[in-house]
């Protein structure tokens, strides 16, 4: 008889590996949604722990808005090369060219909202029945209520009132044709947990997570990277600042924070004392208090 108790990072890791293996065991055609952000990078590490020395039982899928940080794409391609797994890219540009979505206009135009259509098309085209994502319940109030196995109808919609009860560690992945399940293995991790895990596992990250000099403009009180993708006018003043990014999304909706955190230890110190939560640096959540819930109902990650 033993009296062992797992340390919290080991417990979170073991839970995530367990969830990934449930996906492998329960679904015919799963996929791992890979954004190039630290959460999906963590998922790749966890998948290695779950399935090596075997291959992943799923490809990685990147929904590419075309408005990427170059550092992210460079990172993605090197990582795919290293792990030797299949990468499928869904291009938002294709959805625009096919006339399925219309590019937003105006100063705050972003392709972030258009991703949903490309994602759903990519899911349909490849027949994915489960999509693994790196969302966490601590990110936002609507996510705090989402299941680890979250069933979506054929329109990708999440219905918060019709969620399946999720008991013990038993995940019900049974679905009808046309439905699919979004699976969130790191639901129970916090931002700090992810960073501590990345440090412990010595996982490499895209360089934009660390402090660097960059041209930025201030918009709606937030620092946005100056880039050809951002609609700028004479009122926008470009400044060179020391910044880093806390999330890695589309360049037009991911705000930077002023930072001198050059090493992972600095970042963990910074977050431990931080007074702004991670999603606070995402302009897409600022629209309204119910923003995330509405987008999830529409099939967002």
């Amino acid at each position: 008889m033993s009296t062992h108790k797992l340390d919290y990072l080991d417990e979170l890791e073991a839970e995530a590996i367990y969830i990934l293996r449930e996906v492998a065991g329960q679904f015919e055609k799963p996929a791992l949604l890979f954004s190039g952000g630290k959460d999906s990078i963590t998922l790749v590490r966890l998948a290695e722990k779950a399935f090596r020395p075997g291959k992943f039982p799923f490809p990685l899928v990147h929904i590419d808005t075309g408005h990427n940080f170059a550092e992210t794409i460079d990172y993605r391609d090197r990582m795919i090369n290293r792990i030797g797994e299949k990468l499928i890219i869904g291009h938002v540009q294709d959805s625009i060219d096919e006339g399925k979505v219309v590019e937003q206009k105006g100063k705050n135009a972003s392709r972030n909202a258009l991703q949903t259509v490309t994602l759903l098309d990519t899911i349909a085209k490849h027949g994915f029945d489960a999509c693994i994502g790196g969302a966490r319940r601590d990110e936002e109030k609507a996510r705090a209520k989402e299941r680890i196995f979250s069933v979506r109808d054929e329109f990708g919609q999440w219905d918060p009132k019709r969620q399946r009860p999720e008991l013990w560690n038993i995940f019900n992945g049974k679905i009808h044709k046309g439905e699919n399940v979004r699976v969130f293995p790191i639901s129970n991790w916090t931002e700090l947990d992810v960073w501590n895990y990345i440090r412990r596992e010595k996982i490499e990250l895209p360089s934009i997570y660390f402090a660097h000099e960059r041209d930025v403009i201030t918009r709606n009180g937030q620092l946005m990277a100056a880039s050809p993708f951002l609609n700028m006018d004479d009122e926008d003043i470009i400044e060179r600042r020391n910044v880093r990014f806390r999330t890695v999304g589309d360049m037009t909706c991911t705000a930077a924070v002023e930072s001198y955190a050059f090493e992972i230890d600095d970042i963990i110190d910074e977050i431990s004392e931080s007074k702004i939560s991670e999603r606070g640096a995402r302009m897409d959540d600022k629209v309204s208090e119910a923003a995330m819930e509405d987008r999830k109902k529409g099939g967002y990650f």
Binding site: K5, R164, L167
Partner: protein, 416 residues
């Protein structure tokens, strides 16, 4: 540092969301932008102070109706421990949500309104906490500010609760008088109740020693996935991937594979590039056996000397979670760890009126009903009684028409 998962049982009227909000707020677990949203919200308490309940009300429908519909998970940590709160609704129509939240909790906070004392819903919540096998209970007698912080009222409620606890079979109970609204004894000790000599709720949560029942139970390892690279250099590699659900496995342990009954010995335990000599409850690993046996997902490796029950006819407690009533003529699926097989609810022995704890014999099994049934399964389940080993005694019922999870089973024993 470890993780404590707890559930809060109480209704909106008891100030449950306020209590959680207070825990987060006073332990400084709210970040600046969330705080800003909190302060700018239109919802205020009667005295104009901010309504902390907003912190846990996630969904639009809930904000409109002012109630908690679903299970919301909240995360915070102190220097001593990490906490996961499952905030579940208290009304009887949300019994299934409370059962869901309780299934993963190490501890339950039961809230009692000091003005009302032990009422029907206290009985219901306590019964569910007992049924789901939560081993540690904290009874928070809330709204003490509204009864002039009266020790006599507190003592009466504690005595009433002790009688209830005995009736539903709860042990290990801690009582704390609090005011979530004013912050008494939540994070900081109250200066208004000098007659109370205990510590605050947070202090208790930080220091309570967790019972690690999963790791003291017998060794069980449900196989989730078979790792077979089938490459040239790893031609014969065959590893069984899974998570130890209870007990512990060591290299050279004798194990039995169920339901087939074949025996073998553990050759190696792997976790990516490491080879631990032992895997205990909660660990996700890959196990190699010395003999070549046909093992697939749904099988379970167990300690040969301490085997679980193996049966196709099992007595169980059932909580029904669907709006369609239980149909004893219908074939459902049962999922027990990684095993899924067809089943029928062969017989309903009785239902429990969870407000009075009396048995009922005549009615349909409806949404939120709880009772004792006999289940017949197409293939045998290798289970332990839930009261002895939660990790290997819980199962779910899935409706084969809708694929929805419609029932929670706490397996009790072989039905003769």
């Amino acid at each position: 540092m470890d993780i404590l998962k707890f559930i809060t049982a109480g209704s909106v009227d008891d100030g449950k969301s306020t209590l959680i909000g207070r825990l987060l707020y006073d332990s400084e677990s709210i970040l600046a932008d969330q705080l800003e949203a909190l302060h700018s919200s239109n919802r205020k308490n009667d005295d104009g102070s901010i309504d902390l309940a907003i912190l846990t009300d996630g969904l639009k429908a809930e904000r409109e109706q002012g109630i908690t519909i679903d299970v919301a998970y909240k995360y915070f940590q102190t220097d001593k421990r990490k906490f996961i709160i499952a905030d579940t609704p208290g009304h009887i129509q949300y019994t299934r949500n409370m059962v869901t939240g309780a299934s993963n909790a190490n501890l339950a906070i039961i809230l009692i309104d000091a003005r009302k004392g032990v009422i029907e819903q206290t009985i219901r919540h306590s019964y569910l906490v007992s049924l789901l096998g939560i081993q540690q209970v904290v009874v928070c007698i809330n709204k003490m500010d509204m009864v002039d912080y009266s020790e006599a009222i507190y003592e009466t409620i504690v005595n009433d609760y002790k009688a209830l606890a005995y009736k539903v079979g709860l042990e290990n109970i801690k009582y704390i008088p609090v005011s979530a609204l004013k912050g008494d004894n939540i994070v900081n000790e109250s200066d208004k109740m000098h007659w109370y000599e205990g510590k605050s709720l947070l202090h208790f949560l930080e220091t309570i020693e967790l019972k690690i029942d999963d790791s003291t139970a017998h060794a069980r390892f449900p196989v989730q996935w078979v790792v077979r690279p089938q490459t040239e250099e790893l031609h014969d590699y065959r590893g069984y991937a899974g998570r130890v659900s209870s007990g512990s496995f060591k290299v050279n342990d004798r194990v039995t594979v169920l339901p087939s009954g074949f025996h073998s010995t553990i050759e190696k335990i792997e976790l990516l590039d490491t080879e631990p000599t032992e895997a205990f409850a909660g660990m996700s690993v890959t196990i190699h056996l010395k003999d070549e046996i046909d093992i697939s997902r749904g099988d379970v490796l167990v300690n040969t000397d301490y085997q679980p029950e193996l049966s196709q006819q099992i007595e169980a407690d059932l909580c029904w979670m669907d709006t369609r009533v239980l149909d004893t003529s219908l074939t459902y699926f049962v999922q027990h760890n990684s095993k899924v097989t067809r089943c029928k609810i062969q017989e309903v022995l009785y239902k429990v009126n969870i407000n009075t704890l009396e048995k009922e014999f005549n009615e349909d099994f409806k949404l939120n009903d709880i009772g004792r049934i006999i289940i017949k399964t197409a293939e045998p389940l290798a289970f332990d009684p839930y009261q002895i080993n939660k990790a290997n005694g819980g199962a779910i019922i899935i409706d084969s028409r809708t694929n929805v999870t419609v029932g929670a089973l706490m397996l009790r024993g072989i039905s003769e």
